[in-house]
Structure formats: C-alpha cells, structure tokens
Amino acid sequence: MIRIVGVLGIALLLSAACVALEPSSARAPEQTSVTFLISGDPADEEAYRTLVEHFMAEVPEIRVELLNIPGQGDFRRRLTADFAAGTPPDIFLINYRRYGPFAARDAIAPIDAFLAQSDVLRREDFYPQALAAFTWRGELMCMPQNMSSPVIYYNKDLFDAAGLPYPTNDWRWDDFVNVAQMLTRDLNGDGEIDQYGFGVEAALVRAAPFIWMNGGEIVDDPAAPTALALAEPASREALAWFVSLQNAHRVVPDAVAEAAESSLSRFLNGRLAMLMESRRVVPEFRRIEAFDWDVAPLPQGKEQASILHSDAFCIAAASPYREAAWRFVEFANTRVGQTILARSGRTIPSRIDLAQDPAFLDAQARPHNSRIFLDAIPTLRAFPALATWADIEGAVDAELKQAFYGQIALDDAIAAATMRSAEFFSRQE
C-alpha cells in the first residue's frame, strides 16, 4: 500500500514538474521553434542571447534556440556534421571566408527574395562590401550582421612609460617598426625580452592588408583566380617586411615565446604593447582595468588597403522553417537588433546608418578611436570567393608561419605554398 502511494506520489510530482518545465507549450501550442548556431566567447553568447530574448518577446509565436560552439574549427565541423545528418541549424552565423563550401553545394537558402519583400530592411542600408562578400554567383546568400577589419590595439600606459606619443592615424610602416623596437624591452637585464612591441598571428589573413598596401596581390586574378601571386615582387616585398618583424627585428615574440604564452595573453597582462586583431576582442578588452588602451589604424604603405572581416546570418536550404528563420534574421538586422549587438562592443554594424550610431560610436566606451573602423571601410578588400579557399589559406598559413619564425626561408615558403595550393585552384566543387 505504501509502495502504491509512493509510486502515485512520484508520478504526480513528475507530471507537475513537466507542467512547470513547459509553460510555453501550454500557452502557445502553435509555436514554431528554430535553431540558431553561433561560435563565440561568453561575451558573444550573452549578446546573442539578449537578441534572441528581445525577438521572442516581440514575436512570441517563434521560439529561437541559441546554440554556441566555441572555437571556429569545432563550429565548422559541427555545422558539417549537422548538415550531413540532415538536421542543419535553421540559422547559422558564419564568416564569409568559410561559407563557400555550403553555398557551392546549395546548402544555403538565398535571401534575395526575402529581402526584396521586407518592409523593414532595404538592401541600400547595408555596406556594399559586406553584401558583395556574401554574394555567390550573383545571389545574396546570407544577411551580413557585422563588418570589421584588423587594427592595432595599443597599451597607452606602455607608450607613456616609454615616453612615446600615441600612434597617429597616418603612421607608416617605418614609424611602426621604430615604435615597436622602442617598446620591445628587457626590463630586468637578464638578457631575455620581457616586453614585446608587437603581437600578430602568422597567417595570411593578417599579412594580406600589407600585401595589398604595397600594390601586391594574393592571387593572380582576384575575379577568377588560378594561382597564388605571392612570388610577385610587390607581394613578396610586403611578405618579407611582415616576416622581418619577427625574424629580423625581433619585435614580435618568437615561436617559443608565443607557444609559452600567446600574444593575446601577453597584451591582456600588460606585457605586449601593440596587438593586431579584429573587432572581436573588444568585449574582453573592455574588462581590462590594469591599463588604458585604444586602437590605431594599420600603418600605411604605398596604397590604402585593409581586409574585410564579416559574419552573416545564413538560412539552411533544408530548413522546414525558412519563413520563421527569416523573421528572426530580419529582426536581428533592424535598428533594435543591431543596436543590441553593437552595444556589446563585439560588432560594427553592417548597416551604414547604424554604424554612425552612438551605440557603436559611444564616446564613453573603449576603444575611443572606434571611428577608424569606419574610416577603413572604403579601403576594404576581401579574399576570393572559392569553395576551396580554406584549403588555400591553410596551405599558405602552414608555410608562412615557418617563415615568420625563421624556420624556413621566405622564398621556400612561397614556393611550397604555391605548389601545395595549386590543386585547390583547379578543382572547383
């Protein structure tokens, strides 16, 4: 008897718990649920969660499930696995350098038609550079959420301590090297460098702006590339300057120092004066209290140039809820939606009208020199839109890294990268 009562009691408790856990299903049985996959740090996730909550308050009949996979590599593999399993996320946020394989295989639902019918969004409101980066064979595939470009984050306190003026918006390569040299210091006289002048990832995405600034090209024909063009004199000269920052001038941590502690960590700990990064580090840097910091544009070369960074909302072609997914994407790109994300510091709006908005150009929030992100926009260029671009970039990065750290000669690196990337130019899937 006691057992029966016990069982009944547990059953009652369970059903009560079910009711308590799913109050929304009882309220809105016709609710549509869509999944939204992102890749970011906790600050990103918080910003997108706020966005999702605002959307669900506005449109209660659509439920958005936010899923965050930290780490770009894990994110892409998860996305691939989900597509392969036939259960892709309805919406995912992806970089323009990485959406090619999905666009090439018709896995993304183009959004031209949605955008044309929208009452709240107009194509002209968005930066053409961002739209172009997500246009695949003439069709707009994804809705750009943000755009940025790499800049130099610098530690003001270290400049002050060295008695150096802060970088100006028109500084040049030579000025930059001089400053970096003066900020690279052995503080306790033990023969080991304790403070580095500059930190940068040894990767093509970081070297590219300097190649373009020098009048060089990364590929032979940016519109229809067939090979790397890094051996061309202007490209090679820029790459030689880039790798010399480490292997000749020694203003960047060497391979051992970088492996022991990353440049990002050194900057956060006040032991690295300048760091080349995109906008994404801002939420984390805003928590820095030990020193003051700001941003400066990349030092200039012969021409003005920088590289586009942009993420966009894509809708899976296989999603049964494309309409509902679009409503979320649409909301995310309204003034309210983009302001929520801009306030986190993480993103620069992809909308021209909002980029000038105080939510982004907030004089109180660091970096104070945020306007340089906007100033760079007319000079932004993008990597070619190829389904195999990740292979090509990977082949270059593997060699460039070794040249940067003085493990192989630059010309050998260029030759190896050119040879190993060749098959990926010819095979277009």
Partner: protein, 280 residues
C-alpha cells in the same frame, strides 16, 4: 552472453567500417548525395605531397613509439612485479597514465612541455642542460609526441605482471637451486616466458599508434609546425570534416587499414597457434 556486445560492435564498428570502405570510391561532401568516382580518390591523395608526408610521419611515429612503449612496460613490470610494501600505490600511479582520458592526458603534456614555463624545461634549465623547444621546433615536435605516447605504459605493465604470475614457481626454484643469478634468471626464464605477451603487446601498441593519434595531435600541435606532426588520422579528420571531402578521407582510411591489417592478422594467427598448443 556476448550477444549485446556483438550487436553493438556490428552496429557501431563493423557497419560504419564497411560504409567507409564504400565511401573511398565515391565523391561525397556530406551535403549532396554521393557520386561514383572509382579509384580517383586514391589517385588524388597519392598525388598530394602532404599525404606522403603524413604517411611517413605516421610510420616514424608508430615504429618509434610502440617499441619504446613495450620496452617501458617491461621495465616497469620488472620493477613493480615483486610484492612489496607500497607497490600497489606505484602500480596504480603507473596505471593512471592509461586510464586518464586522452584529452586530459594531452593537456597535461601540453603544460609539461611548455618551452618556457613547463616543469620539464625548468628542471633541465636548473640542471644546466639544453632546453629543447619540444612541440614548437619542427625538429623535435614529432619526437615529443613519441615520448608522450611511449610513457603511457600502464596497461602493458598490468598485462606483463599478470602474464608473469602464470609462470610456475617451480622453474624459479629450480633456477635458484642451480645457482642462477638474477640476470640469468631473467634472460633464460622470465624473458622467454613473457616473449609471446611482449610480442602481442608490441603489435597492439603498433596498431594503436598508427590509428589513434588524433587527440594528441589536435590538442597539442594541430599538425605543425609546418607538417611536422601531421599524422594520417589528423589529415583524414581535416579532410573529412573541415574540407568536406569524405571520399578522399575514406581512401586514406583504406591506406591506414592496409597498414594495420597485417599486424592484426599476425596477432590473431599467433594467438590462435599458442592457444592450440596450450590446449594440446
């Protein structure tokens, strides 16, 4: 009694393995349906220099790590075989290396091998010895991975101690009466007794080293510097899940299977033979 296990193995291992063999002959990107490609996948991977680098690295890695691992297991077993005070604690400590999850094991080693702040280099510097850059230097990166794999001897140690226990005391008593010293006892009695087990252990370690190096490579080196630690499992993983070329990854898997098939066959043949002799 074995039915659930057999069912699980069929569903989770044998069936996917057969499907992977089929994948080696198609073009498949996980997004659109597979299309027949014949042996073209093999032609593509054989033309790729990085594949040959990875194959060479895999063989160097496996043929260095496995013998060291078997040898290490033998030495530790010799040390920890006699029942002494505290020997169980030591055995547990050694066995811990084998029960630690791969991820934890790799992360611990990443810290141990940190070129500036890692305890290994701090100790070497304190002793006035040279401090290699380990995973950062292309010349020592693969060797570092070999060391990491080779010191994982817990399972081998346990197996060898267990095998040793099956040796009858009478032969050791006889050896003692004949006046054999410890070295001769080891050389003429213990080693021959353990030889079949050692051989099986070596084959098993070899097979494991060829196909299960993915976790340390991903977490510790990412295949670099350059391609110095790009081993076949890592290349397959990148090929399949980063670049969406599952057909070519499956073709590489067939190559890996061709590498590990013969030693597995040999192990099976040896075990059957010994078992039959025992039974006879």
């Amino acid at each position: 009694m074995a039915a659930p296990f057999v069912f699980g193995a069929l569903l989770l291992v044998v069936l996917p393995a057969f499907l992977s063999f089929a994948l080696a002959f198609v073009q498949y990107d996980a997004l659109s349906p597979p299309t027949w490609r014949g042996i073209e996948n093999f032609a593509v991977i054989f033309r790729r220099e990085v594949f040959w680098i990875a194959l060479r690295n895999t063989l160097v890695f496996a043929f260095s790590a496995a013998p060291l691992q078997a040898l290490g297991a033998l030495m530790i077993a010799l040390l920890l075989h006699p029942e002494r005070r505290g020997v169980r604690v030591h055995r547990a400590a050694v066995y811990l290396t084998s029960v630690l999850p791969d991820v934890a094991y790799a992360l611990i080693w990443l810290w141990l091998l940190n070129p500036l702040y890692g305890p290994i280099n701090l100790t070497l510097a304190w002793l006035g010895l040279p401090t290699p850059a380990w995973l950062v230097d292309p010349r020592t990166a693969l060797a570092s991975l070999v060391i990491v794999a080779a010191v994982r001897v817990g399972e081998g140690m346990l197996l060898l101690i267990a095998a040793w226990r099956t040796a009858p005391d009478s032969i050791y008593d006889a050896a003692q009466i004949d006046g054999a010293d410890r070295l001769r006892t080891f050389w003429h009695i213990t080693l021959p007794w353990l030889a079949p087990w050692l051989l099986l252990l070596l084959i098993r370690d070899l097979v494991m080293a060829i196909h299960s190096s993915l976790t340390p490579v991903i977490l510790m080196t990412g295949g670099g510097p350059g391609y110095a630690t790009t081993l076949l499992p890592f290349l397959m993983y990148e090929e399949a899940f980063t670049h969406l070329r599952l057909g070519e990854a499956a073709a590489m898997m067939v190559v890996v299977f061709a590498l590990i098939g013969p030693p597995i066959g040999l192990a099976g043949w040896l075990t059957r033979r010994w078992w039959r002799e025992d039974a006879a």
